[in-house]
Amino acid sequence: MRTLLWLLLVPACGLGIADDSSGGRTELPGTGAGPFARLVADPLTPADEPWLAIDPILEVTEPAILARPAGGYLTWITQESAELPAGDTEIWFAELPELRGLPLAPFARALAAELTWEGDRVGAPAIVALDDRLVMFYAGGDDIGRAESTDGGRTWSKRAEPVLRNATSPGIAFDGSAWVLAFVDGRGIGVAHSTDGVTFTPDPDPVITARTDSGPKVFDHTLVTSPSVAWLVEGTGRGHWVMWYAGLARLPASGEAPTFAIGYAGSFDGHDWQRISGERPIVAAPAGAPAVVVEGNHAVMAYDALNGRRFGVGLAATP
């Protein structure tokens, strides 16, 4: 009887099973709209957080990122080359085994300007993974081209002609039957549609434009650029298109670098796009040229940011 009384009175004294921290906030859904936090420098990791790629002399910008089948990430960057005249760019590739790790091998050239229409530069890669290959859309000259890779993104074979003319800074997504290609022209961010991934039909009007009527405190008051798009299928089985883009509140003063911030938009049909509510970005300046990979309820973003006097590519992630 005494034993029974002890068993009953022990919990009365607050001596129950070991205490817990407050739960209920893990694995909550999200659509890649953040909150993103730039990776914080950690002396215990080999990475140079938040940087994915920087160079003391050359500009490193406009990344692309995909989930790596073996874990980690496949990354591409747009990089100046010491062998080329200033301003000419190429697309370089590296595999990142983990978010806070070093690349398996140093960044290596994956795509260079070779075709006449590409002029002296290729860059701004946007890549979709299909079952048997990767498909890249990239900026070259004043147009957008397409290339394919069957070796995981190391080497690429290009189409001879661009898939979209007078457009740049592509973003690409594929829902299994339809392609949406976002691009930048002189009016803002537009989208083009395709069923074969080769022949694209642009919508007549841009879908995201600078909010010039909303006052200079709006992060995309002056300019929108660098769209990145994705097709997300959520827990209910319904899918929709999402877009990350860079916005500029004001033009930089002479000699200053532009300070972009990153915004977010979504669309059910790929034609009608809505910005996330509010006038604030999802990633504050300075951050531009977003590329995002969404895996379940988590997302990783590669983005442009100033590293001293040069642009580098940084990484941010949701909790």
Binding site: L8, P11, A12, P29, K217, A265, I276, G278, N297
Partner: protein
Amino acid sequence: MKRAPLALLLLAGTAHANPADLFGFGARAQAMGGAQVAGANDTSASYYNPALLARSSDIRVDIGYQLAVPVLTVDGHDTNVDVSRGLALGLAVPGKLLGAHLAVGAGIFLPDQHITRTRTLSSSAPRFALYDNRPQRLLLSANIAVTLPHGISAGAGIAYMSSTQGTVALDGIVGFPDPASSRLDLAIDVDLKTIRYPQVGLAWDVRRWLTLGVGYRGGFKLVLDQTFDVTGDIGTPGIDPLVSNGYLHLRTRAQDLFQPAQLTVGASARMTPHWTVAFDLAWHRWSVFENPAAHIDFELDIGMFNELVDIPPQEPLPAPHFHDIAVPRLGVEYTRGHHHWRGGYVYEPSPAPAQRGATNFIDNDKHTLSLGAGLEKLGLGGIVLRPISFDVAVAATWMPARDHEKLVAADAIGDYRSAGFVLAASAMTRWRF
């Protein structure tokens, strides 16, 4: 001066009511699906219907332990909602006053993790709204019941909760440009204020085998009210300040906890010497539930620096659009000698609509099946002459999947599917003197 009464951060308090609402109070009641407004025969009447306390002629002490383990998922991922566990204690003491038989009783649920928990989340942050803070709560009620003519008894009581009001004040000089030169006196004033809400009940023995009951439990809401004040000069100590008598005033008010008013009618029928059936139908007034997001009043006057501060405009809080619900409860008890076997079923529809807008107060319909057993032992220990009861119960709540599809494609949370399972158990001893 900048003044901005704004929902700056849109922080939302969560969770509602108390653990007994969710998981029952006492092993017998839990085993019978909580259908106890006419059927409680122990100190759980303090929670279900205080009028039934008057039925006992013995001093009663019930003590036990309750545990509930939720596995609540969003898109198939467990959100790790906290386990609820703690001591359940009941007391009933009968007596006579002016010839009338009466009893006083008390019921306590004492969690062994959190006496109370206050958590505010951003307005759009997904959370299982009825399972977040709700199970992490001390429950305390005191009641009195009296027997009236014609087989009627009546009871009433008060339940207690606490709300938090606090002020943090800093006064002095804020160092600028060197913050390390700040000299600030700190004062903290926090009150845990008592909130009382009523509960009343009636019971009527229509026949020897049939009892009808009705109970009402008042609704309430707890408000978390916090103020943060900084007053003083800005500058370097010893020289004229850049800003004199600057101040920052920040006040947050959040609905930390909400319990809907509940009206329950029920019947308990002893169909045969062995079988007892109880049925309750409860109405829960969720339609007055307000968005628990925090309102933040923000005032700032820092003189020449005011223009450097960008305060976002106030955004209206979206209405949660909860609705009233009716909850049927069915319980059966089979008695053979000193042994009891019990079962129950509860269907609780969700008061929350599918979350298609800016809020994410997740909830699902709930089906609960429960089982239990009891044993009465005589003459244990030689001191307690009345039978002592040992009761156990287990209840499984299934929350079928529910889709929440957003109306806006640019929603930061997006579509999701919520589902869940809650396993609750309790063990209790009931002593009569």
